[in-house]
Amino acid sequence: MHEVRTVTYRAAVLEALSAEMRRDPNVVLLGEDIGAAGGVLKQTDGLFAEFGAARVIDTPISESGAFGMAVGAAMTGLRPVFEVMFGDFITLVMDQLVNQAAKVHYMSAGQFRVPLVLRTAGGIGANLGAQHSQSLHAWVAHIPGLKVVMPSTPADAKGLMITAIRDDNPVIYFEDRMLYTQRGAVQGDDQSIPFGLADIKRVGEDVTLVATSRMVGVALEAAARLVEEGISAEIVDPRSLVPLDLDTIVASVRKTSRAIVIDGGYLQYGVTGEIAAAIAEHAFDWLDCPVLRLGAENLPVPFSKTLEPLFLPDSARIAAAAKALVRGDAIPGGNYG
């Protein structure tokens, strides 16, 4: 039996990192301010003290060069976990990620593997403005050769990080910084969670809410509201976008006949559109109504406290949309009117 403890999301990721670093001396961390400083959100706190400067490495503010180096290091047998301080900054590593990391194994006909994790935290909620609040996971989910995971709970955060580090492919691990203080149960250090295995966070009958990362918690709140309306929502958390567990999503929609896909990324050309299209392809005959998408508004994240909270759907809006689907009413409009 494994000891079950309640820890924060941030601590759960830290547990996975330290356990894997103890288990495998080839696991190294690279990033900005992650060493003695312990990370700008204390997300690497204590690792420098335990593993030292040779394995917890502060890089200059040179995301492109340093990440390119992580790809080269992975080719020699290290297993780097590279931190990009803000999710918005993955734009700075994009060439090395898309044109190197994603393609080395395929292009070399398997001569090289690139076992590395790119870890980054995104999401709105800290009034950081348009360049420090985005959720750009759809950018990388578009690229064959990259795996993409989005843990929503401490247990998933720990289990998916263990799997990410042990995977022989580049894995992009998206955290939401507003989840860092959320608490939840975790188990021992070998409790890995396989990629491509969705988790049903709530069982229900009337409507399927496919939700990612922070939106899982918002969807759970919406489900509680819907109970008062006599509506039972099922919540499916894909956990990994690539690979995607379409079977679990489709089975749920075939059961409920209704689906809303909810994600913190932009709606235009985004994750919600991809999953909604897959549902339409594989569960069309079971659907009672169109598949709905809820996500970030298609605009730069506004700074003002009056505007930022409206940027993502809240539980009231998700509940209203679900109720409209179940009752056959008109679908309510967006947050900004």
Binding site: M69, M75, G77
Partner: protein
């Protein structure tokens, strides 16, 4: 090898053979293109052979190498099978990358090459990362990166200079400057190196990296610089940047390579043979002819010896081309293999 080591006559002959392999390989690529076998654009290494061949002589077999889109020469010069190289350039299943890479990405790991990037400057990041990797893993290997002068226009390369300087990486950055004599935009040609820096080596120098500028057609000069750099890297002295100056081959002035000159070793000792618009390049800048001339003048080899060696290499390349042409392309059912490592 000890510091100050130089190339003895045997080693010079070995370097010369590497250069002939590089040269005739590229001439075969151009011939195969003319015959309609190549599906794509390509870049040739002609004119820079002395740099690559002398560098490869100084770098141990176990050391890692990263090259670029102009990397055919490094790959075959290091001993990788030219047949598999040509097969890859033709997109055949027998190629180094099984037809997945092509001319821009030739990579033979069994000869200790890293994955080859076709993006200008990226090689610097991958090689520096490998240098960090071997250092962290406690291996005695060093890493050599070959790239062109245009790479110094990329921000990533400047970032890597900074990190390599800070971390004292066991890295040798060989900048093959082939912009000498290039027409460039001003002359109505395609862009070549565009930089406000007067001396490229001063850029890495700012970051505390040891630098050297050598004549890239002089095998002895290149070799000695590389030997010093390898020794520095292996002994913990950090990164060296070597700028090897070459005069652009006339066939590389345009967007597509043209066989402006065809190699004939007899031009080396009979300058009257190399008439025509490119006579100056042949007589002054062709590194193959230069070394042939020096080997004969220094009585390290006779004309007949060199012509016999040339014939041997040509025959080997001809056989490699036949192998490539006869090789089957990959089948459609394998296209999706290896997107992910399993």
């Amino acid at each position: 090898m000890a510091s100050g080591a130089t190339l003895d006559w045997r080693a010079q002959l070995a370097v010369f053979e590497r250069m002939l392999l590089m040269r005739h390989f590229e001439e075969a690529v151009m011939r195969l293109f003319k015959e309609g076998h190549l599906p794509s654009h390509y870049h040739v290494y002609i004119g820079q052979e002395a740099t690559g061949a002398a560098a490869l002589e100084a770098i141990d077999k176990e050391d890692l190498i990263c090259t670029t889109h102009r990397g055919h020469g490094h790959v075959v010069g290091r001993g990788a099978d030219p047949g598999r190289g040509l097969a890859e350039i033709l997109g055949r299943s027998t190629g180094f990358n099984g037809g997945r890479g092509g001319t821009l990405h030739l990579c033979d790991r069994s000869h200790n090459f890293l994955s080859t990037s076709g993006l200008v400057g990226s090689c610097a990041g991958l090689a520096a990362g490998a240098a960090y990797g071997v250092k962290t893993l406690g291996q005695s290997k060093v890493v050599a990166a070959f790239f062109g002068d245009g790479s110094l226009e990329e921000g990533l390369v400047l970032e890597v200079f900074n990190i390599a300087g800070l971390w004292k990486l066991p890295l040798i950055m060989v900048c093959e400057n082939n912009s000498g004599g290039a027409i460039g935009i001003q002359g109505g040609g395609y862009p070549t190196s565009v930089t406000s820096a007067q001396h490229l080596s001063r850029i890495p120098e700012c970051y505390g990296i040891t630098t050297a500028v050598v004549d890239g057609t002089d095998v002895v000069e290149v070799y000695e610089a590389l030997i010093a750099a390898v020794e520095r890297a292996r002994s913990g002295g950090g990164t060296t940047f070597i700028e090897a100056m070459t005069e652009r081959w006339p066939g590389n002035q345009g967007l597509w390579p043209e066989l402006a000159t065809a190699t004939d070793l007899r031009d080396a000792w009979d300058p009257s043979r190399s008439a025509g618009p490119h006579a100056k390049w042949l007589q002054q800048y062709d590194p193959v002819l230069r070394l042939a001339r020096e080997l004969v003048a220094g009585t390290m080899a006779s004309q007949e010896d060199l012509l016999a060696l040339d014939k041997k290499v040509r025959d080997r390349i001809d056989a490699a081309a036949e192998f490539a042409i006869a090789s089957p392309p990959p089948t459609a059912d394998t296209a999706a293999d290896g997107v992910f490592a399993s």
